[in-house]
């Protein structure tokens, strides 16, 4: 049984890894096709996995409701939101489902099914615009408050490092609004210099180190040294 549980997955990872490395050097069309196909397959597998997510989410909230745990009432909203979205999103897809039941093929040719070229005016779009985007954009914009309070709490001249961080942030902040340029043209110039010289250097350093780290992790995966992703030894 060990063969199926451990050896085969490691062989799959090894073979695919090696093939994918060497594929990169082949300009032939078939190499390009291989990559596209692989990408599609991964998306298909990922598509199935959403069922796992659904199961987990529903299980969590179903248990909450069933056991009457504190705040169970809110869990109902998860189900409502989900049901409404799926119903409206797939409303026209029911043609497809109907066709399966009736045994007759109805061809919906566009790549997005009934979506054709736009969502404008559909009920799906209404939900997207007024519910989903309202929540998302608001959550996103809460960052504005947080960035201010984080600055107030943490920008303190505790050490040399903290002072440097603070100064850089203040200079860039003042240079990014018209007042910076009005005080002196040096301020926007200095800000540009910070972005283009020390900032670039630091990012480059982090990036180079990180690349080596990720390559070595990838190599460990291909050669079966890193097995954490399979879920431990056994």
């Amino acid at each position: 049984m060990n063969i199926f549980r451990r050896t085969i997955p490691l062989i799959i990872a090894f073979c695919l890894g090696i093939v994918m490395i060497f594929r990169y050097y082949v300009p032939h069309q078939s190499a390009e096709d291989l990559l596209t196909k692989y990408g599609e397959w991964v998306r298909i597998i990922g598509g199935f996995s959403i069922v796992l997510g659904l199961y987990s989410l529903f299980f969590t909230h179903y248990t909450k409701i069933k056991r009457g745990m504190p705040g169970w009432g809110y869990s109902i909203f998860v189900f409502i939101g989900f049901a409404v979205m799926v119903f409206l999103g797939l409303i026209k897809e029911f043609e497809t489902f109907l066709s399966i039941i009736s045994g007759k093929l109805i061809d919906v040719t566009s790549p997005f099914g009934s979506w054709e070229k736009s969502l404008t005016g559909t009920s799906y779009d209404w939900i997207y615009q007024y519910i989903f985007n309202a929540c998302g954009a608001t959550m996103f914009s809460i960052l504005a408050f947080y960035i201010a309070s984080a600055a107030y709490r943490t920008f303190r001249i505790r050490s040399v490092e903290a002072t440097i961080l603070l100064l850089a942030a203040v200079i860039i902040m003042i240079a990014r609004v018209p007042i910076g340029g009005l005080i002196s043209h040096w301020i926007p110039d200095l800000a540009d210099w910070i972005m283009e010289v020390p900032n670039l250097a630091a990012k480059r350093g982090v990036l180079l180190g990180m690349c080596l780290g990720s390559i070595s992790t990838a190599l460990r995966i291909i050669f079966g040294i890193e097995r954490g992703y399979l879920g431990g030894g056994e």
């Binding site: 790549p111 997005f112 979506w115 070229k117 736009s118 969502l119 404008t120 779009d125 997207y128 615009q129 985007n133 998302g136 954009a137 996103f140 504005a144 408050f145 201010a148 309070s149 600055a151 107030y152 709490r153 920008f155 303190r156 001249i157 603070l166 942030a169 203040v170 902040m173 003042i174 990014r176 609004v177 018209p178 007042i179 340029g181 009005l182 043209h185 926007p188 972005m195 283009e196 900032n199």
Partner: protein, 284 residues
């Protein structure tokens, strides 16, 4: 007291931020002239140099969540083109961007009495990203057989001489995500048209290398980029030309007032908390 101020309830800061945003939005406080940056000027000059009837492609690849940062420059660019009688092709790679792209085009074209099909075309959305760009580079009519409203692209008067991306005079990608790079790699590098870009403030620094290599001729970064462009547009108006009310509403420059206020607020808060911090340290 100092202790209290140092560990101030953050909700007070939230209120201050909110006030710093709303007060300048309602009044004219912090109304300051905007000094355009050179990267923005390059785009402005490029469009200024285009002759009447040139073809300009605008790919607006952002969704409502990034509307705040990209919509103002979207409008400013369209106004500039229509003012110069440049023909605009508008499209998007993002399905959630269709609504905004259409809205912007309708708004700007109405201001200048431009006609669909003659002065501008809205191609709408299609899937494919890089593949779509390559397709448009080979044959625009087969990549987009119809425009957004279902008209046959071959029959649209404005597209008569636009068979592929090679016939584009200038192109700008307004991106909230990673669409600028594919446009460079699969579009402008291959089909040899000049290209500029507009992006959110946070991704602007990542675009500087492309300007070094001249793959982008200029860049509009976030709200400041749009405000710069609006300033240039206003300066560029001919003497005696009257701006309409719509043209005077400059979305990004309106936003510069609250932005200035809130930046100053944060800087003042940081300075204040550091003075307090030093005071507590001295006591110890």
């Amino acid at each position: 007291m100092i202790k209290f101020l140092l560990n101030i309830d953050r909700r007070i800061i939230f209120i201050l931020v909110l006030l710093a945003l709303i007060i300048p939005l309602k009044s004219q406080i912090f109304n300051m002239p905007v000094k355009p940056t050179s990267t923005v000027e390059k785009i402005y000059k490029k469009i200024e140099s285009l002759s009447q009837g040139s073809i300009f492609l605008l790919s607006s690849d952002y969704d409502p969540q990034s509307r705040a940062e990209l919509y103002p420059m979207h409008i400013a660019l369209l106004r500039h083109c229509f003012r110069k009688n440049i023909k605009v092709i508008s499209m998007t790679h993002w399905i959630y961007g269709v609504g905004i792209a259409e809205e912007a085009l309708k708004k700007a074209s109405a201001e200048y009495n431009k006609k669909d099909g003659e002065d501008y075309v809205f191609l709408g959305w299609k899937p494919g990203f890089a593949m779509l760009i390559i397709g448009m580079g080979q044959d625009l009519y087969s990549a987009y057989p119809t425009d957004y409203y279902g008209k046959n692209t071959r029959d649209i008067p404005m597209l008569k001489n636009v068979a592929s991306l090679r016939d584009i005079d200038y192109m700008i990608d307004l991106a909230a995500g990673a669409t600028i790079e594919p446009w460079i790699i699969y579009g402008s590098d291959v089909y040899k048209f000049e290209m500029g870009a507009g992006c959110t403030a946070i991704s602007a620094p990542d675009m500087y290398p492309f300007m070094q290599t001249k793959q982008l001729n200029g860049l509009l970064g976030g709200m400041k980029g749009a405000a710069d462009y609006e300033t240039l547009l206003e300066k560029g108006t001919l003497v005696g030309e009257n701006l309409t009310l719509e043209e005077k509403t400059n979305l990004a420059r309106e936003a510069m007032r609250p932005l200035t206020a809130v930046h100053l607020l944060i800087i003042i808060l940081v300075i204040m908390c550091n003075i307090l911090y030093l005071l507590t340290r001295e006591k110890k």
